[in-house]
Symmetry: C2
Subunit: 255 residues, 2 copies
């Protein structure tokens, strides 16, 4: 069960086709009901509360007085792999803002789904937590998301299903050893086939044993990589967005 | 004069080639000096202070005890237009996090510079403010940035210099009237020539009179645009990153 808060997020939940267990409305939130009424099913339970009580359960500093309890979609691997799959696989992405942003980009660029995985060392932030949900602008509710998967078995199932595994790696990160998979620029990979983009931890990147099982590493070249001091590469969410865009570009140009 | 705070930002400032007016070090910050010493010029003034005093001037909640006063670069239009120009022009981007993220993407993807403009109604957040600086991961200090430009005269100077003006617009936003400039997908625009990407306000987009003077509108197609309710497009920073990537892709593929 997922709690979502605020007018825009509640609208996104009501429009997602997910089962709404209850709508919570405070006195101040009552003004939004005219706008939401057309989206409500006849059997949706509406719970009314005082502003003070609402503020006590609200997660935001200035609550809008409107929230919903949503039965989140339990996606299956089959959901993610329908048609020509494009799946964002998050492996130890710890910042919920990054998780949400990646899901938002995944939906915008036509990904078929996303999976969040943990490694031995690192978990991925909960895609249905309040910060990730907000950063996703509701995409976490609409996009099929497989949550908390053990990464090794997920990748081997994807490989069996014919999905190409692309590891997003940084330029000259040491993750691209001689013995490892080939390193491609984003536009050198063929995204018109079923593909998964593996996105690692913000600081540490992908674990070496994940990179080794990938079909290729995809590395975004960066002009700033020539600057001597203090230059950070794109962050995990920006890099993932760019790779998802590249996949969409190739798929649309194909048609 | 710009104040930057924290070890990574101070490192970025010291490595930027900008003039450092002073380095401020608290007792707790002293531990970073061994790492920073090789980057210091002999005439850099180092001011030492107590942790308590430092916390009083610090902008972050858990200060690292290290800060620098930097003479920010005053970029000229000529700086921005050197070589084959690629300039991000921010017109009323109000969120400092978005401003910083766009500058970071601009540097990463090889832009020659950025300009921040205000319109009659909306200003662009200060690229040298603490939140924008942090979100830029220091790019605001390294990339030539022309700050607070009146947008009309800037665009007409760019046009005179032969720079193509591309307005970043949303799909079916009403900004793409029949009488307006042609609407291209990102990969349909020719980014190998000198180009500027005009990025508008987070909510309102670009003003109509700016869109009308552009050579073309560039609109990122989005799968989610078909979902009925509550779907927001990519945010301003994500859209700008994708367009900057597309420009780099075409320029690198050309070589």
């Amino acid at each position: 069960m997922v709690g979502v808060e605020g007018l825009r997020m509640v609208e996104a939940a009501l429009g997602s086709g997910l089962r709404i267990e209850a709508l919570l409305v405070s006195d101040a939130g009552e003004r939004h009901m005219a706008r939401l009424a057309p989206l409500l099913k006849s059997d949706t339970q509406v719970l009314r509360t005082s502003d003070r009580l609402f503020a006590g359960v609200a997660d935001t500093r200035t609550p809008q007085g409107i929230a919903a309890l949503v039965q989140a979609r339990q996606a299956t691997l089959e959901d993610l792999l329908r048609d020509c799959a494009l799946v964002a696989v998050l492996v130890g992405v710890q910042d919920p803002g990054n998780v949400g942003t990646i899901l938002r980009a995944a939906e915008a660029f036509g990904a078929t789904g996303a999976a969040t995985c943990s490694t031995n060392e690192l978990g991925t932030a909960d895609p249905f937590g309040p910060k990730a949900l907000r950063a996703s602008a509701g995409s976490a509710l609409r996009l099929p998301v497989l949550h908390g998967q053990p990464v090794a078995s997920l990748l081997s199932q994807m490989r069996t299903a014919g999905v190409k595994l692309y590891a997003a790696t940084k330029e000259s990160s040491g993750q691209t050893e001689l013995s490892g998979p080939p390193v491609l620029r984003p536009w050198e990979a063929d995204w018109k086939l079923s593909a998964a983009i593996l996105i690692g931890n913000e600081g540490a990147g992908l674990p070496d044993d994940i990179v080794r099982v990938a079909d290729a590493c995809v590395s975004i070249p960066q002009a700033a990589a020539t600057t001597p001091v203090g230059v950070e590469s794109l962050n995990a969410a920006m890099a993932a967005s760019v790779l998802l865009y590249e996949a969409m570009r190739q798929r649309m140009a194909k048609r």
